[in-house]
């Protein structure tokens, strides 16, 4: 209790000093306030498992970063929004950028969403690090020279790698090929790239049937019958979701896996569903950028696989790697730019510059962003085997190729680039 005037003045002065002191430290406190990272993750439909995988990689990255003191001393807070149709997702992107005031937004799987979000990221000058969602054709038109948007690996990288492996392993052994791919850009781009590379390698193969089931189809009995009729030596498929195991199950039940070679560019995305009961040995199968049992697995990948298995009772897949990469690349860029700016938190422009050409350790090994804002990574593919401890197929031998080998360089058309190869 204040007993007299002198004491009262003392208390008042003390309070004023405390307030003053608090005002003095305000900028430092703002600096240490958490950094908000917005995430767009699909939660429904065909892309839901991919969105879930991305969220797991994001959470793992953020847990590690926060345990080690955050990004340039600031803890990370995640603001997750759902990726759904392009219109709604753009609204959520705006919300994350303008209302949540996220310093960076990661995520995005569907190309249609990517095409809509890209220009908005440029318009708002909001940093967007896509997981996928940015196939080359449309993106080149809608965001030709992105400043704030950072893109994923080209659509066809997986088909390019699988085609090179096909040429290496099966030259002279296949004469007729069939394609069963989803009826949208990813499926069509992959099949076209496969045929172009077969031609480049002088494989002399004839496409006998091209099937285009819609994305999300769960019954391929008619397609399998068409494949049986066409009797191809090799079936090429870029299925990446639940349709991959369904196709193999129905193909196996119809006797198609005996004698026919399979190239499954992206089935590693649902690798635990590719059961030995119906997926043959000897197929070429791709895992995109993360193979959970990579022989050269880094301690980081081993730690993540263990964490993933303990927490979700599943082995991880590629989208965890893309998502993990976007977070650690952002951290590395901020810290690099902050150092250059004398310890201050960098502006978005400074972070963008630091991201260009950055290289960090991700779950799949070292990977980075090219100066044209396109991801670099190592891709894992190989020949399926049943010799493992699981009830699903794995690959052995494991082939690793960098996107420097399987992704067209900046400013070059895909087919010009393929034609320029010396084989």
């Amino acid at each position: 209790m204040i007993t007299n005037r002198r004491t009262f003045i003392k208390v008042l002065a003390g309070a004023a000093a405390a307030t003053g002191a608090r005002l003095d430290v305000a900028p430092a406190l703002a600096q240490a306030a958490p950094v908000r990272i917005g995430v767009l993750a699909a939660k429904a439909g065909v892309t839901a498992p991919v969105g879930e995988s991305g969220l797991r990689g994001t959470q793992f990255a953020v847990d590690r970063i926060n345990a080690a003191g955050g990004i340039a001393g600031r803890k990370v807070e995640l603001a997750v929004e759902e990726e759904s149709n392009p219109k709604d997702t753009v609204e959520r992107f705006r919300k994350l950028a303008l209302q949540t005031k996220a310093e960076v937004i990661t995520g995005g799987i569907s190309t249609a969403v990517g095409l809509a979000v890209g220009p908005v990221s440029e318009e708002l000058k909001a940093l967007w690090l896509a997981w996928d969602a940015t196939t080359q054709k449309g993106v080149e038109e809608t965001i030709p020279k992105p400043r704030y948007a950072f893109r994923s690996v080209d659509n066809e990288a997986e088909a390019v790698m699988a085609s090179i492996l096909t040429a290496r392993q099966l030259k002279g052994k296949v004469k007729t090929v069939a394609g069963i791919n989803n009826d949208y850009s990813y499926g069509r781009d992959n099949w076209a790239a496969f045929l172009a590379i077969m031609k480049k390698f002088g494989m002399n193969v004839t496409p006998v049937v091209e099937l285009w089931p819609k994305l999300g189809e769960t019954n391929f009995t008619s397609h399998v019958a068409a494949l049986q009729q066409a009797k191809p030596d090799l079936v090429f498929s870029s299925f990446w979701s639940g349709d991959a195991p369904i196709l193999m199950k129905q193909a196996h039940a119809a006797g198609l896996t005996q004698g026919t070679k399979f190239v499954l560019t992206t089935a590693g995305g649902v690798h635990e569903s590719m059961k030995k009961a119906f997926t043959p040995e000897g197929a070429i199968m791709g895992y995109n950028s993360l193979y959970f049992e990579a022989p050269n697995a880094s301690p980081l990948l081993r730690e993540f696989s263990k964490w993933h298995q303990e927490r979700f009772k599943e082995w991880p897949n590629y989208e965890s790697d893309h998502a993990y990469f976007t977070i650690v690349a952002y951290k590395a860029a901020v810290e690099k730019a902050s150092k250059a700016a004398g310890g201050k938190w960098p502006t978005t422009e400074q972070t963008v510059e630091a991201l260009e050409g950055i290289e960090v350790e991700s779950l799949s090994g070292r990977r980075g962003y090219r100066s044209d804002h396109i991801m670099e990574a190592s891709y894992y593919q190989g020949v399926t085997t049943h010799k493992n401890r699981h009830d699903f197929v794995t690959i052995d031998p494991v082939e690793v190729m960098s996107t420097k080998q399987i992704q067209k360089p900046s400013g070059t058309g895909l087919y010009d680039w393929i034609n320029s190869w010396s084989v």
Partner: protein, 286 residues
């Protein structure tokens, strides 16, 4: 062709549920696809559990049918919810049943997660049949036979039994049926539960040949509607004919000109809408 009939058998079960519920309750139930998906997931869980408990593999179709029928118990609960919109505009029905579709998607994600669920080896328990140069899994024939048997059973139930007569009377004139002493609310509960069972059993039966994925119901709703338009809304014979037309059209398109796989179905739908707007079997109301 057989692939088309296999697809038609499954499609019939879902479309029959849609037809029955519309025919009697005048409700356009979009959630019929969700019941199919729920049946598929429950089928995987039930068979995995039964096999782990030591049940002999060849009895798995019985487990699947049991799982489908067991799951139909959600029918009375959903029907209770639908009672609020029986006398309201169709748009309310569509909104409510579409809301159910979204809710069931979340229920599936919550219970089973997002990864595909499947039975890896059940499909070939009955072996394969060689016809000419083609290899056909015997289980496909089991599903076709089950679809045919259920269609026959439904026909018998609706045409030859007391329950069927009451259902038809209610479908024809609800007020008159009520005046004759029919407990219409009880009929509605039973009919809706039967409609749910057709969907859940369909989903459960198809699962050995495919994998349960969350969106599997959505796709089938669209196809079931094509079946209904072709066959005629509310007609059980129409559901059989519509399912066969859609299934076989798709198979023929895939075998001859794969680019028109989906287009082929909708060309038929448009042709029926123009030439016979009420559908091929419109008069033979359930």
């Amino acid at each position: 062709m057989l692939g088309g009939v296999f697809h038609a058998a499954v499609l019939f079960l879902v479309a029959a549920g849609l037809q029955l519920v519309f025919g009697v309750q005048k409700i356009l139930n979009l959630a019929c696809g969700s019941f199919y998906a729920l049946g598929a997931y429950a089928g995987v869980s039930a068979v995995s559990w039964a096999l782990a408990a030591g049940a002999p593999p060849p009895i798995f179709p019985l487990v699947l049918v049991g799982a489908g029928l067991g799951l139909a118990l959600v029918g009375p609960v959903i029907e209770r919810l639908l009672r609020t919109i029986y006398d309201r505009d169709e748009s309310f029905q569509l909104l409510l049943t579409f809301a159910l579709v979204l809710m069931f998607e979340d229920v599936i994600r919550f219970v089973w997660g997002t990864a595909p669920h499947q039975l890896s080896s059940a499909y070939l328990v009955y072996g394969q049949l060689r016809v000419g140069g083609l290899v056909i899994p015997v289980y496909n024939l089991v599903v076709i036979a089950a679809g045919g048997a259920i269609a026959a059973l439904m026909g018998f139930l609706l045409a030859r039994t007391r329950f069927g007569r009451i259902v038809r009377a209610t479908a024809e004139n609800r007020g008159m049926a009520e005046a004759m002493g029919v407990d219409v609310s009880r009929v509605y509960v039973r009919v809706f539960t039967l409609g749910v069972a057709l969907g859940t059993v369909g989903g459960a039966l198809v699962i050995p040949a495919t994998a349960a994925v969350n969106e599997m119901g959505i796709d089938l709703i669209v196809e079931a509607f094509a079946v209904v338009v072709i066959g005629g809304l509310g007609s059980m014979r129409g559901a059989v004919a519509g399912a066969l037309i859609v299934g076989i059209m798709r198979a023929v398109a895939v075998a001859t000109y794969p680019e028109v796989e989906m287009l082929a179905i909708y060309v038929v739908v448009i042709a029926v809408l123009v030439l016979r707007p009420a559908g091929l079997f419109a008069k033979a109301a359930a």
